[in-house]
């Protein structure tokens, strides 16, 4: 079930709100049970057959957690952690990557091992990382053991962040699972954030997603088409993903949780290092805390630092999908980060800001070209087309038509990808008029989004491979 669907907005979520707030609130247990029940329904709605897998993975993480705690200080505690990692990562590897490994094994050896063709469980990359973070944090004594399986599973399955993040760590919501306050301001802020996220997803991301598809299938080989495609894709991806995160954070506030931010205007980055402090921050920080730092981080020799960065970015790329393009995409960013860290860092700092932005944007867009390509050859062709290499015209009928047609959404999306709107909103918030303006905006935006959804507009789900 998508947040941006009629079923979610006008059947599922109203029911969650009603039952959640009808429950006695002296303790959070009844409300947690409501959330658990609805989270299970939410997941089963899209993946009825793979629900048990998620519940089993959750059980495994919780169960090994018991032994990590019971055997604390003993070697067995580490063994329990290793077992938790093996089961968690093993499940992810099997369901998400088995066919990738088989295909490459077959290609390398000439043997024809049949593919398993397993359905990718929805959100497996997200919930696996959440479960692992609990066991690792518990082992490091950075959080307390959760004795109740149902409460732990409420954390794992919490529907606002279940299928598309942000990757919430147990330590961040443990206190709220035990006791949470929902204030008027928090609920209003959550509703506002949710509707803004919905607008970003439905009014901008979905619209630009259509443009992406058009550019990819138009058959026009032109520089303009190549740029139109990649700019639309970059904005589509950002508004889709950050819109989803906004909705998750907003619903979290409405239900009494404070999820961490996931995006901070990534396209205003002035370097690739800066980009990864702003894009999918919950994933970056996960890899930093659970892979990079344990490997030694930057407190080691230069060759070891290089190795650490390569490992982290190999994993980051691979996490996004079982394909070589994702691995190359990760390593591409590793190369740029290494270049900035050891060679370009000081030079970049001295350049005019505008040059820094252009530098970052060009390499970000090339990165997305690799990310979205079905094969590395296609990625190469699309990058070549960006710079007019080969049999590429400057523009064609299709690209000129769609540039004009999508001009307003593209301009709005570009402005929305910068802090301009937020600054304007902050300025307006000081005025009395906001008292009416904000609710009116929420009302109109929600009605408009509903109109788009009811009319059966293009509504893709891009997280299926994550």
């Amino acid at each position: 079930m998508l947040f941006s669907s009629v079923t979610f907005l006008y059947y599922f979520f109203p029911l969650v709100l009603v039952l959640h707030f009808l429950m006695p609130h002296k303790t959070t247990k009844p409300r947690n049970y409501v959330l658990l029940l609805f989270s299970v329904v939410f997941y089963a709605w899209g993946e009825p057959k793979l629900l048990l897998l998620m519940l089993a993975q959750s059980f495994s993480g919780w169960f090994f957690g018991l032994f990590i705690e019971r055997w604390r200080g003993k070697k067995l505690s580490k063994a329990a952690l290793v077992a938790a990692l093996v089961v968690g990562i093993g499940g992810l590897m099997f369901f998400k990557y088995a066919d990738f490994f088989i295909e490459n094994f077959n290609a390398a050896t000439g043997i024809s091992v049949p593919l398993l063709r397993l359905a990718l469980p929805l959100g497996i990359s997200f919930y696996t990382f959440q479960i692992l973070s609990y066991d690792i944090d518990l082992y490091r004594s950075e959080c307390e053991m959760q004795p109740n399986y149902f409460t732990f599973t409420t954390y794992v399955t919490l529907f606002p962040q279940l299928i598309a993040g942000p990757i919430v760590r147990y330590v961040d919501v443990a206190a709220e699972l035990a006791e949470r306050q929902i204030t008027l301001t928090a609920f209003a802020g959550g509703a506002r954030r949710f509707v803004i996220g919905l607008g970003k997803k439905v009014l901008i991301a979905n619209v630009l997603g259509e443009l992406v598809d058009i550019c990819k299938t138009s058959g026009e080989h032109s520089v303009l088409n190549a740029w139109l495609y990649i700019i639309a894709y970059a904005l589509h991806l950002y508004f889709d993903f950050s819109g989803y995160s906004d909705m998750a954070i907003g619903m979290g506030h409405m239900l009494g949780f404070k999820f961490l931010e996931n995006f901070n205007y990534p396209y205003i980055a002035r370097s690739i290092t800066d980009l990864w402090r702003r894009w999918h921050m919950s994933l970056s920080s996960w890899f930093r805390d659970y892979v990079y730092i344990p490997l030694g981080g930057n407190r080691c020799s230069k060759p070891r630092q290089v190795f650490n960065i390569l490992v982290v970015w190999f994993c980051t790329g691979f996490w996004h999908g079982a394909g070589w393009n994702f691995i190359v995409w990760g390593l591409y960013f590793a190369a740029l980060l290494l270049l900035e860290k050891f060679v370009l860092g000081k030079v970049l700092d001295k350049l005019p800001r505008v040059i820094q932005h252009i530098y970052a944007l060009v390499f970000i867009l090339i990165g997305w070209t690799i990310f979205d390509a079905p094969t590395l050859v296609t990625a190469g062709e699309r990058i070549a087309a960006l710079f007019g290499v080969g049999d590429t015209a400057l523009a064609g009928v299709s690209s000129l038509y769609y540039l004009r047609s999508y001009a307003v959404p593209l301009i709005l999306a570009t402005i929305g990808a910068t802090p301009i709107v937020r600054r304007a909103a902050t300025w307006v918030q000081q005025k009395r008029v906001t008292t009416v303006l904000e609710p009116l905006t929420v009302l109109l935006l929600l009605v408009l989004v509903t109109a788009y959804l009811v009319d059966g507009s293009f509504n893709p789900f891009i997280y299926f491979r994550f």
Partner: protein
């Protein structure tokens, strides 16, 4: 300070109220208002609540069907569709809504040329043509409305389509109708051509197929006609006027429709005035979707026969050809499989065969039942 706090509290209360008002307002309205079974504007059945069983839950059919039902049964759906169209075309200033555009008070729809489908259509035409024996075979493409009213759209390209068809149909005579019409030959609110304005098409066909168009027709007016784009666009458009042409040939000819129930042909009117009042007023012409129709004119200029492989455009064209052929057989391969055609149609030697398809059919040729 206290004022600011009060404002903030009021704003929060109003924001929550607005959010809950829309959400629960629609929840209540969706329960209170019974949705229609059919969308008149889109000319389609609306989705029903899917059956809930263990099997439909396990295979997720229930969930898939529920979202369609939820969207189709939504309260004030038509108004919301209009709101979306207004937002897309007038607020976001986009040139089209999923290919639908406004032009000169009317509307149109384009889709990019699908080379693969065009070639598949050509192969299907060739396959049928090979089985027809000693007949004169012609083919033509109905000129797409977009090339006249919205030439800037990246849709139908006559030269490209002609080249693709010629690749596979070089053995047959192509008739290029592109230069016969202009934008005013089409309804403003529909994809079809307007019968009284397609005389140049008849002339061009006559020149290629050796008949001499000379018949005069009288124009009959029925009333306002809201074409298919009015509903699809969901924005107000000025209605067209539905007219049709009549003369002694159309009145004197016998029109027969294939009846599936009796597995035979039944007499009917060439212009079905009742159908004009139905869901698709264009069904006035030869009753719309029909697998096989024959038009027999004992007073025709010649004894020649015409076999017209066709789509809906030919429904309004065929009456204008009635004066020149003793018998016209209209065959719609969307509704009859080519493999059973010889059970119902015997192709007379030395007769004319015309494959006349619009770009919509060529671009979606999987719909043609030729295997």
């Amino acid at each position: 300070m206290e004022n600011t706090t009060n404002n903030s509290k009021t704003r929060s209360i109003l924001t929550i109220a607005a959010f809950l008002l829309v959400m629960f307002g629609f929840v209540i309205l969706n329960r209170a208002i019974t949705p229609p079974d059919v969308s008149q504007s889109e000319r389609r059945q609306l989705a029903k609540l899917p059956t809930l069983t263990l099997q439909t839950l396990a295979n997720a059919d229930f969930m898939d069907g529920f979202e369609d039902f939820a969207a189709d049964s939504f309260a004030f759906r038509e108004n919301l569709r209009t709101l979306r169209a207004f937002a897309v075309l007038d607020v976001f200033r986009m040139s089209d809504k999923s290919g639908l555009y406004r032009a000169d008070g009317g509307a149109g729809k384009f889709e990019p040329v699908n080379d693969k489908s065009i070639l598949q259509a050509a192969d299907k035409i060739a396959k049928v043509a090979e089985t027809l024996g000693d007949v004169n075979i012609y083919y033509a493409v109905v000129p797409d409305k977009n090339i006249y009213v919205a030439p800037q759209t990246p849709g139908y390209e006559p030269a490209r389509v002609a080249a693709l068809l010629a690749e596979r149909l070089g053995a047959y005579t192509a008739i290029d109708l592109t230069d016969t019409l202009g934008g005013d030959a089409y309804y403003r609110t529909d994809l079809h051509w307007d019968q009284p304005r397609i005389a140049p098409v008849v002339d061009k066909l006559g020149a290629a197929m050796n008949f001499a168009p000379s018949a005069d027709f009288e124009t009959r007016t029925l009333g306002e006609f809201n074409g298919v784009y009015t509903g699809q666009l969901a924005l107000p458009l000025t209605p067209d006027t539905m007219t049709y042409l009549e003369n002694s040939a159309t009145v004197g000819a016998t029109t027969q429709y294939f009846d599936i129930a009796s597995n035979g042909f039944l007499d009917g009117d060439m212009y079905d005035l009742e159908a004009f009042k139905g869901g698709d007023p264009y069904d006035l012409f030869l009753r719309g979707a029909q697998p096989l129709i024959t038009i027999t004119n004992p007073d025709a200029q010649s004894n020649r026969e015409l076999y017209l492989f066709r789509d809906s455009f030919s429904s309004s064209l065929a009456p204008l050809l009635a004066p020149y052929y003793s018998r016209i057989t209209l065959i719609d391969l969307r509704y009859i499989d080519s493999r059973v055609l010889d059970q119902y149609v015997k192709f007379a030697p030395d007769s004319d065969v015309l494959f006349l398809y619009s770009s919509q059919i060529l671009n979606n040729s999987a719909i043609l039942n030729v295997s």
